[in-house]
């Protein structure tokens, strides 16, 4: 009954989306007054998808095995949190979540958008409805989450144990809000291209959406990186895996868009480029979804592979991106560029920022799809891994990080003051960091060394916009920018320290044996069997000390029965200056155990930096929304924003 209600809600929502799209066309051609109707339809459509999604969560929470999706992906012995999270831990459920966020975002746009012209809003809502329509069709035709099983099985098949983790409950929804939030930027850009109203008003309307989506993408990527780090037990935080790249590409595009939309809002410049980026950012989300859901690329994230669904998604992608690009080709010529700017100006800085981000995006895109292109053209099989991405994207990211320190100091239009003088202290700090790395670690490779240098410089340079005035009176948006840019420095420091100073130890040890890793002495005390609700495990007790106050780590090797799978549960102990990471593997015949240890100095800074970047975004968003309430629409105040 609940499942049928969910399905009915989905069909109704699809019907409303079609109506919304038709109304948009009628409204743009004729002069019927539809804006109130359109807003109401968008809100009801959002509510209906929420009902459908809630219905799916209820059938999962109750483990209703007569629903095929539950039978295939859940199990009555699972802890409650994972029963609920199981609703989106599979293909159909995750696509339903995608559609729900898409139409709820459309509803929010209809409810809260006051800044755009009515015509552009209607066109944008129509575009959003067209997007939703395709994904409704995909769900209802090719991936019905509510299909029944008759007879119902006695027990479900379970959930991939790797996904049985608190990270799963929050990681995909966060990332999806980010992915799909970009759809609003896409729809507004399409709407504005249709009506020809590409101006700073549009940019100010688009900015909070881009900012919001970008915050969630940043959080999602940061959390995903930490999840892979502790759950997969390899000790790495980024693997340049196609599925990870699928989340990084929209983030890069959104970061570029965030900065160019600022130029359009403040100066009315970069119109065509900003519209293009808005289209590309959401296109990257769709490409990511396609890559993940079609299983077209080999990945450690082994999602279900289904060529038919892949074909359906590819058709949707080709239609939407193709239509947007065609619209761009058709209307792009009519876009008049805004106010001119000189070579040394805030605008130029942001153009360089955009160029570098776009090149990095191109590099990641090319690296991800290169094996596919090569095989299509020559039949040769190859894979592209970390060495390519690190070598090519790393230096560009460092250049970008250097410029991040300069850009916010520049004035709009033209800069006459000697800006580089203000960077003397940051440059000095960077130079000192470089000297220290040369003294304490002469054999360090070039990339980590430069990473630590630039991190030190940027940490100082990023706070300059708050100096020379009363920092408490600086706009919240400026604080947000400073916190985000400081976060980049922090993350960079973590990456540099991790690459340069990690020590690793892999050995077979017997209880009583001692290993050393970095400054630590680690003794294997004992290995004991354990049992959980749906798993059994061997748990090692490791006593680690570096002169004072020993700590105990308890890594496990777990065996899940439904479905039968082994996983490693790493034990990680966090200290102010790093993490001790331990994994226990298989026993050998003589009673020894494989133990793998890492000492990773300052590795936590990577995720702390990611969190700071997102917090900065949240501050900026708060500042923008708050300032909108107070109505102070003066671009001069955005000097440092």
């Amino acid at each position: 009954m609940i499942a049928e209600a969910g399905l009915a809600a989905l069909w109704l929502a699809a019907g409303l989306a079609l109506y919304q799209f038709v109304l948009m066309i009628l409204s743009l051609r004729g002069s019927i007054e539809v804006s109130r109707t359109m807003r109401a339809i968008a809100v009801v459509q959002g509510a209906l998808t929420l009902i459908a999604f809630a219905a799916l969560i209820v059938v999962f929470a109750r483990t209703d095995l007569s629903v095929a999706l539950v039978a295939e992906n859940s199990h009555s012995a699972k802890p409650f949190l994972y029963k609920v999270a199981g609703a989106w831990g599979n293909h159909e459920g995750s696509m339903l979540m995608w559609v729900t966020i898409l139409s709820v975002a459309g509803a929010f746009l209809a409810l809260f958008s006051r800044r755009t012209s009515e015509r552009t809003l209607i066109a944008g809502l129509g575009a959003q409805a067209a997007l939703a329509l395709g994904f409704y069709a995909f769900l209802l035709v090719a991936s019905n989450p509510f299909a029944r099983l008759n007879p119902a099985p006695l027990e479900g098949a379970g959930l991939n144990p790797l996904l049985q983790d608190p990270g799963l409950a929050f990681h995909p929804p966060t990332l999806y809000v980010g992915y799909v939030g970009l759809s609003i930027a896409f729809s507004l850009a399409v709407g504005a291209l249709l009506t020809g109203e590409v101006d700073s008003r549009l940019a100010r309307a688009m900015r909070p959406w881009v900012l919001g989506a970008w915050i969630f993408l940043t959080l999602g990527i940061t959390a995903g990186s930490y999840w892979a780090y502790y759950e997969l037990g390899w000790g790495g935080y980024w693997f340049w895996d196609p599925v990870e790249n699928a989340s990084l590409m929209p983030w890069l595009a959104a970061t570029a868009l965030l900065h160019s939309v600022g130029v359009l809002a403040a100066r009315g410049a970069l119109k065509a480029w900003t519209m293009m980026l808005a289209v590309i950012a959401f296109s990257m989300s769709m490409v990511g979804t396609f890559l993940v859901r079609s299983g077209i690329l080999t990945s450690v994230h082994a999602f279900a592979i289904d060529p038919e669904r892949g074909a359906f998604l590819l058709v949707l992608l080709a239609i939407y991106v193709g239509a947007a690009f065609a619209l761009f080709a058709w209307r792009g010529a009519s876009l008049k560029e805004g106010a001119p700017f000189e070579l040394i100006s805030r605008e130029t800085g942001l153009v360089i920022n955009n160029l570098l981000l776009s090149v990095v995006l191109g590099i990641v895109f090319l690296g991800t799809l290169y094996p596919l292109f090569v095989e299509a053209l020559s039949g040769e099989k190859l894979s592209v891994g970390a060495p390519y991405f690190n070598a090519v994207a790393g230096p560009l990211a460092l250049i970008l990080a250097v410029l991040v320190g300069i850009g916010p100091l520049l004035a709009w239009r033209r800069e006459r003051r000697p800006v580089l003088k203000r960077l003397r202290i940051p440059a000095l700090i960077g130079g000192t960091a470089l000297a220290i790395t040369i003294i304490i670690a002469p054999e360090m490779t070039i990339l980590p060394r430069l990473g630590l240098t630039v991190a030190a410089y940027l940490a100082a340079a990023s706070i300059l916009p708050l100096t020379g005035r009363n920092p408490l009176r600086a706009p919240l948006a400026t604080w947000g920018m400073v916190v985000s840019h400081f976060g980049i420095a922090v993350a960079l420091a973590g990456m540099g320290a991790n690459a340069a100073f990690t020590s690793e130890r892999l050995a077979i040890v017997k209880p009583g044996d001692t290993l050393s890793v970095g400054p630590w002495l680690v003794q294997l005390q004992q290995v004991t069997p354990m049992a959980g609700k749906n798993w059994t495990a061997m748990e090692a007790e490791l006593l680690a000390s570096r002169g004072h106050g020993p700590v105990t780590l308890k890594p496990q090797t777990r065996y899940f029965s439904d479905p039968p799978t082994d996983t490693n549960e790493a034990a990680i102990e966090t200290f102010w200056n790093g993490q001790l990471y331990s994994v226990i593997g298989k026993p050998d015949q003589s009673g020894g155990w494989q133990v793998r240890l890492w000492w990773k100095p300052f590795v936590t800074l990577i995720w702390a930096g990611g969190a700071l970047i997102a917090i900065g975004g949240a501050l900026a968003l708060l500042g923008r929304v708050w300032r909108r309430r107070r109505r102070r629409p003066d671009w001069r105040r955005e000097r440092y924003a």
């Binding site: 079609s294 080999t298 892949g310 074909a311 590819l314 080709a329 792009g332 010529a333």
Partner: protein, 175 residues
Amino acid sequence: MSRAIRFAPLLVLALIVGALIWRLVTPSDSSVHSTLEGKPVPAFDLGPALDTKPALRSRDLATGKPHLVNVFASWCVPCIAEVKVLQQLKARGVSVEGIAIRDRPEDLVEFLGRNGDPYERIGSDPQSSVQISLGSSGVPESFVVDGAGVIRYQHIGPVETTDVPMILAKLEQAR
């Protein structure tokens, strides 16, 4: 903005979609192809595994007619089932040669006595050295070698009844 720039994104999209369609239509082939296929069998000279059977040398394979070289062991469980399939192949005129990996004569006698003996020759490879030079990572594996002593096909895992027509076809091609 020039026309070319405005239409460039569409062109790039078409190329990407084309490549993705190609991949959907031709799913990736994840099977492992031996890099030794098309190369001569590495030279080896194995001692006899049994007193009653001739030993195996690489030049015994370059006799002008194709051979099926089977890497096996008496301690290998899947080999028990495979030996019966190899006998079917022998009955159809295939010359089957064996390389026994890390084996003992008394175990081998018992294995062949119990399960049947399709082999014309069996070489003993006590240190897996020939197995490694053949690029074989486990037992059982089989190689189709043509009359000139060139490897034409490497089969990983046991040859099963359903593989017989395929193996016969490979041997026919190697003739």
